[in-house]
């Protein structure tokens, strides 16, 4: 805990729902998956942006409650939307109802597509938890409600050391790109690289806490990339977010995956 808000009182920050920075002395940290307006059976709530935003935050509230936390404990939020106008007119006010006066550090992005083409908003949080990490397992992976996806809705890191990987792409050690135009090969290579980096840091695939998968096509990723992901995690998934965007750093890259992990 011991949270400090950074530059919260600058004139330009007044009245905003977030602040420039937050620092904590972390003992226990919760990473949530990107949560959306889905029902437990995987269907989207009807009615567009406002109901989807409300549902996403209800689900986040459930994940927070499972970890003994509230929205005031959030230190970072990332909001992905596919329609900024709809978020400004329909989503923003719904978010405010849940956050109240709490102000995390924040990033907002307009992306091309989320998991379902009708999905308009997805939100993920990093949360500073109260209590001591002593006597607890390094990672607690959990779901607050049932869902059909290959991910956990929340992962708590108890003590340990956080590990931040650069976004991993399908490059060979000599700098050449593996699998140009080949989704399956790129997926395999990206996870191979993630495995190498985790190992170098004393971690394993099971050490992964949060994963963000950026792809140029969610349909192609599901068809050709998901098998490599399943083989990598062997059921021991992190909290995760899948996002379709128009481009990555080089035109040959089809997928880039960011991983946050933790080691003792």
């Amino acid at each position: 805990m011991d949270r400090r808000d950074i530059l919260a009182e600058r004139p330009v920050e007044k009245g905003r729902g977030f602040m420039p920075g937050v620092s904590v002395a972390p003992a226990r940290v919760l990473f949530t998956a990107g949560l959306t307006g889905r029902n437990p059976d995987g269907s989207l709530v009807p009615g567009g942006m406002a109901p989807q935003t409300r549902r996403a935050f209800e689900r986040l509230e459930g994940v927070l409650a499972h970890a003994g936390a509230k929205f005031d404990d959030a230190v970072k939020q990332l909001v992905y939307v596919t329609d900024l106008d709809a978020y400004n007119t329909g989503g923003r006010a719904e978010r405010a109802k849940f956050f109240g006066t709490a102000r995390p550090a924040s990033t907002g992005l307009v992306v091309r597509r989320l998991a379902d083409p009708a999905m308009l908003v997805e939100v993920e949080l990093v949360v500073d938890l109260a209590g001591s990490s002593q006597g607890k397992p390094l990672l607690e992976k959990f779901n607050a409600e049932s869902h059909p996806g290959d991910f956990y809705q929340g992962v708590i890191v108890n003590g340990g050391r956080l590990l931040y990987l650069a976004g991993q792409i399908a490059n060979n050690p000599d700098g050449s790109i593996a699998g140009v135009g080949d989704w399956r090969r790129q997926a395999e290579k990206v996870y191979e690289n993630i495995g190498h980096v985790l190992r170098a840091a004393g971690a394993t695939p099971a050490s992964a806490v949060k994963e963000t998968t950026w792809v140029l096509s969610i349909d192609s990723w599901r068809q050709h990339g998901a098998a490599a992901r399943r083989a990598f995690y062997q059921g021991d998934y992190p909290a995760s977010t899948l996002v379709e965007i128009p481009g990555l750093a080089q035109p040959e890259f089809l997928v880039e995956i960011e991983v946050i992990a933790a080691v003792a």
Binding site: R4, I6, M19, S23, V75, S106, G108, L109
Partner: protein
């Protein structure tokens, strides 16, 4: 340094950045996505991604300094741009502010940022 750098010959970065960083102590700092606005909230460098990137790095540095660190405290940085052709201008600005190796890094081209005039946004995780 309250974090260490992870490197392996089996998986190397494709540019000047760290493959991974591991926190070893200290305080964790989450910095909001920074954009090119000035202290009054006006956009600096409308239509000029290089000017926006420089202002964005100034703002990022200001937040990190207020948290007791600096750009060298960053474990991870994520750069969002809206046009792939803006990448060289952002890389040039980045090269001006980082003396040595840059943090673990990701660059993503998004559809847009939260205001149509913003061309670049950078968020970071640091340890101080």
């Amino acid at each position: 340094m309250p974090f260490s750098t992870i490197a392996t010959p089996e998986a190397r970065p494709v540019a000047n950045y760290k493959m991974a960083t591991r926190m070893e102590g200290g305080r964790l700092v989450y910095v909001s996505g920074q954009v090119a606005w000035d202290a009054s909230g006006n956009i600096v460098g409308k239509g000029d991604v290089g000017a926006q990137a420089r202002q964005t790095f100034r703002n990022l540095r200001q937040v990190l300094q207020a948290a007791g660190g600096d750009l060298g405290s960053l474990m991870k940085m994520t750069t969002y741009i809206t046009r792939i052709e803006d990448r060289p201008a952002v890389a040039e600005a980045r090269g001006e502010v980082f003396a040595g190796e840059v943090p673990a890094s990701t660059l993503i081209v998004v559809k847009s940022l939260f205001h149509p005039d913003f061309l670049v946004e950078i968020e970071g995780v640091a340890v101080v």
